[in-house]
């Protein structure tokens, strides 16, 4: 154990005292605000007015979050067509943003809300588009 006698023990001490003077990196999150960046991909949101019910989002979604629910019927010319609106099971959402990219009408957005923990997963099912956008 010759190294012991000529050791450089305690190399970190100077840096330790310098660190004390700096602001800590820990954010006071549950007690203070957490700032996320502009592009942060959080909870999915839909603007029911812009949605036309084209089902593209349902097709592209990799996590099967979106299901199209028939909400009524309308006549196009002589043909009766079902009107569909998306319902979102947000507990399976992986926030990839593929639906937002593919929505031609700009109805979908990823908000910066990241506080997604709930007691019942059913409470995250978003049916906003079903009630208003008829």
């Amino acid at each position: 154990m010759k190294e012991v006698s000529r050791r450089n023990v305690g190399q970190a001490v100077g840096e330790m005292f310098r660190t004390v003077l700096q602001t800590p990196i820990t954010e006071k999150y549950p007690f203070g605000d957490k700032v996320v960046t502009e592009r942060f991909r959080g909870k999915l949101d839909i603007d029911p007015v812009k949605c036309t019910g084209c089902s593209i989002c349902e097709i592209v979604c990799p996590a099967q979050v979106i299901t199209m629910v028939p909400v009524g019927k309308k006549m196009i010319g002589t043909r009766e067509v079902e009107i569909k609106r998306p319902s979102f099971e947000l507990y399976t959402c992986i926030m990839c943003g593929q639906c937002v990219d593919d929505c031609k009408f700009g109805a979908l957005t990823l908000t910066r809300n990241f506080e997604l923990a709930v007691f019942k997963k059913e409470s995250t099912i978003m049916k906003k588009a079903l009630t208003i956008g008829k």
């Binding site: 190294e3 012991v4 450089n8 840096e15 990799p62 992986i94 990839c96 990823l110």
Partner: protein, 412 residues
């Protein structure tokens, strides 16, 4: 232990390399404080010295290769990205590159530069994560906290560019998803200067702090000959002096224009891995800052039709842990016929078992960390005692007796 399972009746071959008695195996994992992910290693001990290690993987096998066969090409991008949280971008890069090679489309130059920037930022954060973990396993929590503190800077940058800290969903088939945000170039440059300064400090710290070097120098040594035989990838290969890097040899993204300076070291132990990875951190800083300066204008993606022509494509990228291999076979349908992923840890695990040989149990965590394991990527080590033929995994009682005997022997 019943009579019919006498030690000598239950011998089996261990990975074809030696014979051992099953009764003397010491399990390491699948749940162990030094493994953050479940994996099982059978350690064969001679006293406290490890003579043989047999891995058993698959505890987090999620059948992703099968799942990929039932998803469309675009959906798979997000699936493969979730193989690993740390090198998620490398996975999506490997997959998208392989698919692009099938379609024959070329990603625009700007898109390739942005891919390089994000890939190198990911390497920075992965290497810093590893350095912190080495500090943690060596009982040096201060280093761990400091390094992770600095890693936050990189993660914040990644969030600003891609919108998420780990699962970036940034590389898509045909380029990258979004343009770089405004004013990010200046921010990247200042943060990189900070990281470079810190990397210099950490190099000094890990090379001189004696309590750390006694744990790392000469520990987990692999020779160049072993490395040639067992084909590890990434830093584990480079620390034996073989300069092998996918980025340099088979460039993808914009690595042909901004080539890496391939770092090597000759000792092949944990201490040299520390220095090597810190050198790579500095090199990545240089590459990112060069790429930001030279960033060409123009489109950042091309739109590629969602049907992929028939064919096979082999691609590999340099993930932070080494070569990451993708093989994609298309049958012309909307989903791939077969995707094979070989993550870097699978290639490294055999070398890691070799590194463990000859060391004591106290060194297992630091050596295993040395290869930067990512079992999520890879998809178990138990200890056998050759002289004693005693099963450690049976009960506390026997272990206690063994412990008493061991220390009696050691103290006498």
């Amino acid at each position: 232990m019943s009579e019919d399972t006498k030690p000598d009746q239950r011998r089996e071959s261990s990975a074809g390399l030696m014979q051992y008695s099953v009764e003397s195996a010491m399990p390491f994992g699948p749940v162990h404080p030094s493994l953050k992910e479940p994996e099982y290693f059978k350690l064969i001990l001679e006293g406290e010295k490890i003579v043989q290690v047999i891995p058993r993987i698959g505890y987090v096998h999620r059948g992703i290769e099968r799942a990929a066969q039932e998803r469309t090409w675009v959906k798979n991008t997000y699936l493969f990205e979730r193989i690993c949280g740390i090198c998620s971008f490398a996975h999506s890069l490997g997959y998208t590159h392989a698919v692009e090679a099938l379609t024959g489309f070329e990603v625009p130059k700007r898109g390739r530069y942005i891919r390089l920037i994000v890939a190198e930022l990911e390497r920075l954060h992965s290497h810093l994560l590893w350095l912190g973990l080495v500090g943690h396993w060596a009982g040096f929590d201060t280093l761990f906290m400091w390094v992770w503190k600095d890693r936050e800077h990189i993660l914040d940058l990644e969030e600003a560019i891609t919108g998420n800290r780990v699962n970036k969903s940034y590389s898509i088939i045909g380029g990258v998803r979004m343009e770089l945000p405004d004013g990010i170039a200046a921010k990247i440059q200042t943060e990189l200067k900070y990281i470079e300064k810190r990397a210099d400090y950490y190099t000094k710290l890990v090379e001189t702090e004696e309590t750390l070097t006694v744990r790392t120098r000469g520990v987990g040594r692999i020779t160049q000959e072993t490395a040639r035989r067992l084909c590890p990838v990434g830093p584990l290969l480079r620390c034996t002096g073989i300069a092998r890097d996918v980025r340099a040899e088979d460039p993808y993204a914009a690595y042909d224009e901004i080539p890496p300076h391939v770092q090597t070291s000759n000792d092949g132990d944990i201490a040299s891995l520390l220095t090597l990875r810190l050198n790579e951190v500095r090199d990545s800083c240089r590459m990112v800052s060069e790429a930001v300066e030279k960033l060409p204008t123009g489109p950042y993606k091309v739109s590629i039709p969602r049907a992929v022509p028939q064919g096979e494509s082999t691609f590999h990228v340099e993930a932070p842990r080494g070569e990451l291999f993708y093989f994609v076979k298309s049958g012309g349908g909307s989903a791939p016929e077969r995707v094979k992923v070989r993550s870097s840890t699978v290639a490294n695990i055999l070398t890691a078992t070799e590194m463990l040989k000859g060391h004591t149990l106290a060194d297992v965590p630091i050596v295993l960390t040395g290869m930067d394991p990512c079992f999520g990527c890879m998809d178990r080590i138990s200890v056998l005692d050759v002289d004693k033929s005693k099963e450690w995994s049976i009960g506390g009682e026997e272990l206690r007796t063994y412990g008493i005997e061991y220390y009696k022997r050691k103290l006498s």
